[in-house]
Symmetry: C2
Subunit: 228 residues, 2 copies
Amino acid sequence: MRDFKLPESGPKRKLFDAAACLFAERGFQAVSVRDICAAAGTNIAAVNYHFGSREGLLGLVAADHLAPLNDERLLRLEVLEKNWGGKPVPLEEILDAFVRPIVTRSQKSGLSEVLYCRLLGLIFQENPEIFSNGLHAQSVALMDRFKRLFVKTVSSLSEEELEGRIQLMVGCLIHLLVRPGGVRDDGKVGLEGILGRFIRFSAAGLRGGVSVEVEPEKKVGPQAMFDF
Amino acid sequence: MRDFKLPESGPKRKLFDAAACLFAERGFQAVSVRDICAAAGTNIAAVNYHFGSREGLLGLVAADHLAPLNDERLLRLEVLEKNWGGKPVPLEEILDAFVRPIVTRSQKSGLSEVLYCRLLGLIFQENPEIFSNGLHAQSVALMDRFKRLFVKTVSSLSEEELEGRIQLMVGCLIHLLVRPGGVRDDGKVGLEGILGRFIRFSAAGLRGGVSVEVEPEKKVGPQAMFDF
DNA sequence: ACTGGATTGAATCGATCGTTTGACTCGTTT
DNA sequence: AAACGAGTCAAACGATCGATTCAATCCAGT
């Protein structure tokens, strides 16, 4: 994987860019091969000639946007591990290493901030079998390394509780990326402001009050359902 | 709206139930009229005869699951307002009134907990124009009333910051509902456990550290990008 | 038993989908 | 000049989609 090189110009590149843009705008299922070709100004057969199939183009778009992001995430994570030795890393720094590559990569993607975020979010949100070419394994391995940093910092929570909260954090981020109103360049808060707010929200949520373990028979009624 | 009564049996009811189940399983766009009719054991023309169109059935499924949920949410919200007078309501109680109806309604939906949650989440996540029949206005008005409770409790944050965090909270919940692995009946934590964890996470995130306002020129570098 | 609206059935409509075909146009090589 | 491979083109393939048609069927009201 990753040994493919996309040409810097020509119809193949045009198809790739048009597909990425349309996918981000409407979602994967809502974009037809004819839409992509019309946007790229090519013939209908060009997609199957250059990318084998619609899914091939789709998977390549996902891979070529996700892989560099994960690379930068891994880089920042290793910098964090080196700088802090074995000591716990502040939550905000971990979360920063997790989301800041989104800002960095969006500027090199050729897409607008909003569209790049939507594309990223949709890759995770819609059919996850899109990146079954080893990219999924890469993402899982990366998340495991991030999780190890989280457990070292938030040691008061059980690992299961923390794992659940990490899932909440990731889900929150994905929805934030997909939602068009989430990242608005027109308002006062841009992508950085939104992600900064996400970091504050998630950091507080991750380290928030320890869960009170309640025995099943101690549930005193419907008002105590959610053991807090 | 809401003056329709669905028959308790017959092909129309079978179509409705089959549609709700299939929509929750595969998402709206992935379910065809023929799929629904095959699952309901009816003819292909039955959908257009009883519901006018595919979108008509789709909208009715959404409305008939969302409206009772919002009704119960509104009820619990008014109970909260009455019990606490004008005083701030604890975050956990507000969030409880917001998500507990999901548990209650899921038990009366005929669907499994997982499918009911997925159906709810997909209604919000996929095309929001599905419930443009006034149901959207109802949801917005309800969220406004919840927001007023939130601002009264979390008074240290600016209203804009709190509004953004509420969006994060809602997005977190939506993703939690849609994600199949989020609500697992097989593991130790059921729907209640998951939602309890969501309440703890969101409550901490909503009341978490006050955002430090940073002037644009005071940004000292990439490491201070997310003003924390 | 007859009637008339409600409902169901099989068949088909036009549209769109992803993909494939085969001829055609190039630029390069032999 | 001949041959070749890469790329592009219009056209059509088979499949599926939502929706429609119209005859057949059901069933309560007279």
